[in-house]
């Protein structure tokens, strides 16, 4: 670790299983924040419930560990009252897109300046391996012993369609890329959605016979390509990584300020 100043050391070793990808997300999020030289006091992290959401307990920023699926709603409240602060919201795929799906699309639609990190392990880790909206057709879960018939969302396409002004995907294997993307997402003014493919060896890995954490990260290496790579023409099953959307569009808190000015009769 470079900067122990950013973590609450008294809670380590952390609770996550050996090889859990969520720890790698924590590791590289801290590096992104360190490289941006952000002060602990400038950052607010809100999270919901899930293995992934426990990340907020380990970082020494302002943190709110809230309720399942509602982290973005809490973040919206914080951001509107203190727009100068940086809001970072780590979420599990269930937290973000099952119970929290509505908050997710509307935060993206409003383009509020929040960085959402979707730690996608394709399963409900915390509650024992039930399938999530990201598990995908044909996968196995505790609640789908004969395989899942639900199709999965594509987080990137969903965030794009909902109006997020920064959309990216990376994996726990691609750690330098992850830190770079997180830096860009945090600096971006508007709603940023970053999907990080993150292994859950304990449930998704075991149920789908994908081996251990190392095997699952090898799979991230071999089954993904940089966005725009020619390799995808030969193998359309490859998953693209990188930044998909980065555009300027009116940000919610700034627009809200304008409305206040208008109502007060102080606008030019």
């Amino acid at each position: 670790m470079e900067d122990k100043n950013y973590i609450r050391e008294r809670f380590f070793p952390h609770i996550w299983c050996p090889g859990c990808g969520h720890g790698i997300v924590l590791n590289n999020l801290l590096r992104a924040i360190e490289q941006l030289k952000l002060k602990k006091n400038e950052i607010v992290m809100t999270s919901g419930i899930g293995c992934s959401s426990r990340i907020s307990g380990y970082v020494d920023f302002h943190t709110l560990h809230t309720i399942h699926g509602r982290a973005l709603a809490f973040a919206t409240g914080v951001k509107l009252s203190r727009p100068e602060l940086k809001l970072i919201v780590p979420m599990g795929d269930g937290d973000a897109l099952a119970i929290g799906g509505n908050h997710f699309i509307h935060a993206a639609r409003r383009n509020i300046d929040i960085t959402a990190i979707i730690m996608n392990n394709r399963i409900y880790g915390m509650t024992g391996g039930q399938f999530s909206p990201l598990s995908g057709y044909g996968t196995r879960a505790t609640t789908a012993p004969y395989t899942n018939i639900d199709h999965d969302f594509d987080v990137v396409e969903l965030a794009k369609a909902a109006g997020a002004s920064f959309v990216a995907r990376t994996t726990t294997y691609h750690v330098k890329e992850m830190a770079d993307i997180l830096k860009q997402a945090i600096l971006h003014k508007g709603f940023s959605a970053v999907e990080v493919m993150s292994q859950c060896p304990t449930y998704f890995g075991r149920k789908n016979r994908l081996g251990d954490a190392v095997d699952m990260m090898e799979h991230y290496k071999n089954s993904t390509v940089r966005v725009g790579s020619k390799k995808i023409e030969k193998n359309p099953d490859l998953i693209e990584r990188g930044v998909f959307v980065e555009k300027e569009s009116p940000e919610y808190c700034s627009e809200y300020d304008k409305i206040i000015q208008k109502a007060m009769g102080t606008s030019a």
Binding site: G21, G23, D212, M217
Partner: protein
Amino acid sequence: MAKPKCKELIINRDWCKGCGICIHFCPTNVLEMDDEDKSVAMRIEDCICCKLCELRCPDLAIDVVAEPKEKETEN
């Protein structure tokens, strides 16, 4: 320019959970698992200081300390 060298590789044994990620992905095979399922730097002289083990450790258990770039030659 001299290649970066590793001065010290600190592994926090209280935090390491023996997942083997650092060992498997080290490009020069520096690390090994000991019989207590903790990663140890067996061949530190081969370390190229890429820090990938440190960045990929889910438990924040590794610190790769690089040799200072310019050694003080005076006195």
